[in-house]
């Protein structure tokens, strides 16, 4: 199925479910699709945000979001009785982002988290001028801090502070021990605080 990136603005790629030829018959694929459509409606936005932060490339993140839900569709019933949905989906998303990074570096194009060079202008449409200013500053500071972290620490910091996952959920997402998650997030937060302090120092100097 050919899918445009724009289709991800909504669950467009899931709309294939209404194939006119299948009218009157409840095909198993449709039932599956229905499940993923529900999943997408609930988690699509946060998974896309997460992938934007990991890949720092919106077009790539849109592809990765699509791939995440395609994989989720494949495994929606497999071995997941009553398990937590968020760690499962974030885990798939992270694997997809790792694969995309690898594919890119093989193609000679390494994705480097670009410090400061973020699309703060994206958010200008919404909110008050004050909030926009705060938002732009936050985008810069967070972007700079994330650029300093290893992929693993960056992922964990995002899961905790941006997405509010519990430490246990993060351990499940990453497939590592709870103790290690706590230590790594502690270190990542120290980097975030140092970045924030530097930013404030600069601001003071500029005045």
């Amino acid at each position: 199925v050919a899918i445009t990136r724009d289709a991800l603005a909504g669950p467009g790629f899931l709309a294939v479910a209404s194939d006119p030829r299948a009218e009157g018959r409840a095909r198993p694929e449709d039932v599956e699709r229905e499940k993923v459509a529900t999943l997408y409606a609930e988690h699509g936005a946060r998974i896309h945000r997460f992938l934007c932060d990991l890949l720092r490339d919106r077009a790539l993140a849109a592809d990765a979001t699509q791939e995440t839900f395609v994989r989720a569709l494949r495994h929606v019933d497999a071995g997941r009785d009553g398990g937590l949905v968020a760690p499962w989906l974030f885990g798939i998303a992270r694997n997809v982002s790792l694969e995309m990074r690898r594919a890119r570096s093989r193609a000679g194009r390494v994705i480097v988290p670009s410090e400061g060079a973020s699309g703060a202008e994206d958010g200008v449409a919404a909110g008050s001028p004050e909030r926009d200013l705060l938002g732009r500053e936050a985008v810069r500071i967070v972007g700079a801090a994330l650029a300093r972290l290893s992929e693993e620490r960056r992922t964990m910091l995002l899961l905790r502070l941006d997405h509010g996952l519990a430490y246990e959920e993060i351990a499940a997402t990453m497939g590592i021990s709870l103790a290690k998650v706590k230590v790594e997030i502690f270190r990542a937060r120290a980097v975030l605080r140092a970045t924030l302090a530097e930013y404030r120092e600069e601001e003071r100097g500029a005045r």
């Binding site: 289709a7 958010g123 995002l158």
Partner: protein, 80 residues
């Protein structure tokens, strides 16, 4: 790292994932624990940095289809 064992609960409170009773309990604890109050201030500040960012602010729009008219995303055919 932290010495008070309840710092994690404080973080959960900031994240808004604590239920009524747990929330009241940790608020009570906060009144008597300076370390947790400091942890709360730090965590709130860090959380705000992430939360205040626009929904998709972290990447540059590389291929913004500005010239194309906007159509409802779900109805758009896969022509791209």
């Amino acid at each position: 790292m932290n010495t008070c064992a309840r710092v994690e609960e404080v973080e959960d409170m900031v994240l808004g994932v604590l239920g009524g009773a747990a929330r009241r309990a940790i608020e009570e604890h906060l009144a008597s624990c300076a370390e947790c109050r400091e942890a709360r201030a730090d965590f709130e500040e860090e959380r705000a940095l992430f939360a205040v960012r626009p929904p998709r602010a972290s990447t540059r729009v590389r291929s913004a289809p500005r010239s194309r008219p906007r159509s409802p995303p779900a109805a758009r055919p896969a022509a791209g």
